[in-house]
């Protein structure tokens, strides 16, 4: 399968006098046969990037390599899209409405002049794997969203592409179908070993599928790495919030002779031991994911409650007492929203049970999961990684 390399990719839309940089200086590599994710908010430029890889869009500057072959360079397509041997699943699937599902899947093969016997054999094979045998004679308009998606996937895979591109392929599916589709995609990718790139704004797509991920924001590449790397050690606030929900608390940090004062404005002050080195004091943002917070009611100690047992090692720090606001149900647990500070900011906590509004709760946070970001630049400061409770 093919290895993809991007080198200084830039894409400019609009007039020369008023250029809009959709992508700026993007370079990374996608290993052969790997499953790669491109994550970003809508408008970040991730679809443009995928279209450049596919050959549907020409980079204004920079080079795209398929293995060691340059396929587009500096405003020119050297290998056009139809010769790149790429399979693509579009966000709206883009099936041909006037053709049956069978003919849809056969289309790329007919273009390649396969014999009809070979086409039939290939479609039988694919429809077996994808479970779409019964709907082959129907038209896309007569089949459900999940089935259409599988037809689109079969069409993308039918010609044995060396690269499979998935553009937000699950965003039009309901939650249950989504999981089926994800497991189907990951299994088929492992089976065929085709290099696969998925573009998504949904971190759960990335966590369930991708081995490596690139986070893109405002046309710039921010960080690449494995999804769990990025989740645990995000380069900045942008990456952290793109990968999942995170509470951001304004605060202040003061490090002096091995003792660190961490103030979470409106919540509490924590004192820690740290050998982080240089003395400093600055405004910071403190990021804590909802699952790294726990709460107890009626002033109970966390160790006495269930919450502490289920959570993995690591110390819990008591943050303070807050008033609850609303509890939202989300997939087996509750997201309890508490209010703090003069601005009535929200702190969201994952809890096993719903807590009535207006109740006073004690908040705990996992020490090793608290993330400190620079208050101005938003960059991650690994200051807490070696800190210990004083």
């Amino acid at each position: 399968m093919v290895k993809i390399k991007l080198e200084g990719i830039e894409k400019i839309f609009g007039k020369k006098s008023n250029p809009f940089y959709a992508l700026k200086d993007i370079s990374f590599e996608i290993k052969s046969s790997s499953f790669f994710g491109i994550l970003g908010a809508s408008g970040a430029g991730k679809t443009t990037l995928m279209r450049i890889i596919a050959g549907l869009e020409t980079p204004s500057a920079g080079k795209v390599y398929f293995d060691n072959r340059i396929v587009s360079a500096d405003g020119k397509d050297i290998v056009p899209v139809e010769e790149r041997n790429v399979g693509m699943v579009f966000q709206n699937w883009a099936l041909y409405p006037h053709l049956s599902n069978y003919e849809n899947i056969a289309f790329p093969l007919k273009v390649l002049h396969w014999s009809s016997a070979d086409i039939r054999a290939r479609i039988v094979e694919l429809s077996d794997i994808l479970g779409i045998k019964e709907i082959l004679d129907k038209r896309p308009g007569q089949t459900s969203g999940g089935q259409q998606q599988r037809v689109a996937l079969a069409r993308a895979l039918s010609k044995n592409p060396s690269l499979l591109l998935l553009d937000e392929p699950f965003s039009n599916l309901d939650a249950n179908t989504k999981n089926d589709a994800r497991s189907l995609v990951i299994n088929i990718q492992k089976k065929l070993g085709v290099t696969t790139v998925i573009v998504s704004h949904d971190p759960s797509d990335i966590f369930s599928l991708a081995e490596e991920v690139a986070v893109i924001s405002s046309g710039k590449l921010i960080q690449t790495g494995t999804p769990s790397d990025l989740y645990d050690r995000p380069l900045n606030i942008k990456v952290a919030t793109t990968l999942g929900e995170m509470n951001l608390i304004n605060g202040y940090i003061e490090l002096k002779s091995g003792i660190m004062n961490l103030e979470l404005t409106g919540i509490s002050k924590i004192i820690l031991k740290s050998d982080y080195g240089k003395e400093q004091s600055k405004a910071v943002k403190i990021g804590i994911r909802p699952e790294d917070l726990a709460l107890t009611t009626e002033g109970k100690d966390l160790k006495a409650t269930e919450e502490a047992d289920t959570s993995s090692k690591g110390e819990w720090i008591k943050l303070g007492e807050l008033k609850t606001d609303v509890s939202n149900y989300s997939q087996g647990s509750f997201l309890v929203s508490t209010i703090y500070g003069v601005n009535k900011s929200r702190l969201n906590i994952i809890s096993r049970e719903a807590i009535p509004s207006g109740k006073s709760v004690t908040i705990y946070a996992r020490r090793d999961r608290i993330k400190i970001f620079d208050g101005e630049t938003g960059d991650y400061i690994p200051i807490l990684e070696k800190a210990l409770l004083a």
Partner: protein, 279 residues
């Protein structure tokens, strides 16, 4: 509730009443042509236009044999013009749809403006041109002249129909390895077929009914087109009204038949025009 259903019913019947009135308005001329074309020379002069009286095929027969040649002449240039303009118009429209560049936009704007220029102003150079390339007074000359005026129309109409095709469908065909011609043949034509039929009918009727261009480009009597031949029935010294009614009916029968056969596509095309939905 009762009141509501009454209003709904009234609305529905009002719709049908209006439709019937409009249909009748459209039908009256055709009806008059048929009824009066079937009258005798005396009958057509002595009875009101819309009331049938004497019944004879004589006018239809004499006119029919005289118009047979001109009708064939018309078909000979009208069909190629309509087919070629629609097909190449669709190709041009596909290109304009696919590639958006400054040059393309400029060319497209020129085409759009060109379709609104009255063709009469270009007739003298056109005659000179056809004479110099040796196709004056021939079917080829007519086809050539009409293509000049109706290829842009075809491109303009087809680009309106193509605009409703989802771009991702064409892109996905490119990803699937198809080149431009395959995409045009296997995706664009089938998906815009109702639009192509509408364009075809529109150009066919326009060229069939055109009087001026064949009048100046054709000089031999045996190469006259149906509409030019029809003019000879409004004589300078007196008119045989039954003959001219019959002639008008017979000369419009070809577009009428084509419209009846392909009309449902034409309407689908119009619907696509109005709503922007896929035909």
């Amino acid at each position: 509730m009762k009141n509501n259903t009454f209003i709904l019913k009234a609305r529905k019947s009002l719709k049908y009443i209006i439709l019937s009135v409009v249909a009748a308005l459209w039908f009256i001329p055709v009806y008059a042509l048929v009824v009066d074309g079937l009258k005798t020379t005396i009958g057509v002069l002595t009875t009101p236009v819309l009331i049938p009286s004497t019944f004879t095929f004589s006018a239809m027969e004499t006119v029919g044999s005289a118009l047979f040649g001109p009708i064939l002449n018309s078909i000979a240039y009208v069909l190629p013009v309509a087919i070629i303009s629609t097909f190449f118009g669709a190709m041009a429209a596909y290109y304009f749809y696919k590639v958006t560049s400054f040059i393309n936009t400029t060319i497209f704007t020129i085409i759009s403006i060109a379709t609104f220029i009255p063709y009469q102003i270009a007739l003298v150079p056109l005659i000179k041109l056809t004479v110099s390339i040796g196709i004056y007074d021939s079917t080829y000359g007519l086809i050539f002249a009409f293509l000049i005026f109706y290829l842009p129309t075809g491109a303009l109409l087809m680009s309106i129909f193509l605009a409703v095709l989802p771009k991702t469908t064409l892109e996905s065909a490119r990803v699937d390895g198809a080149g431009d011609f395959t995409i045009f043949r296997r995706i664009v034509i089938p998906l815009s077929f109702p639009g192509m039929i509408s364009t075809f009918i529109f150009i066919l009727i326009e060229t069939w009914n055109n009087f001026f261009i064949p009048l100046v480009l054709i000089s031999s009597a045996n190469k006259r087109t149906a509409i030019v031949a029809l003019e000879s029935y409004t004589g300078g010294y007196g008119t045989l009204y039954n003959d001219s009614f019959a002639a008008a009916f017979l000369s419009s029968i070809v577009p009428l038949i084509i419209f009846i056969i392909l009309g449902r596509y034409f309407i689908r095309g119009l619907v696509a025009f109005g709503t922007g939905s896929k035909g």
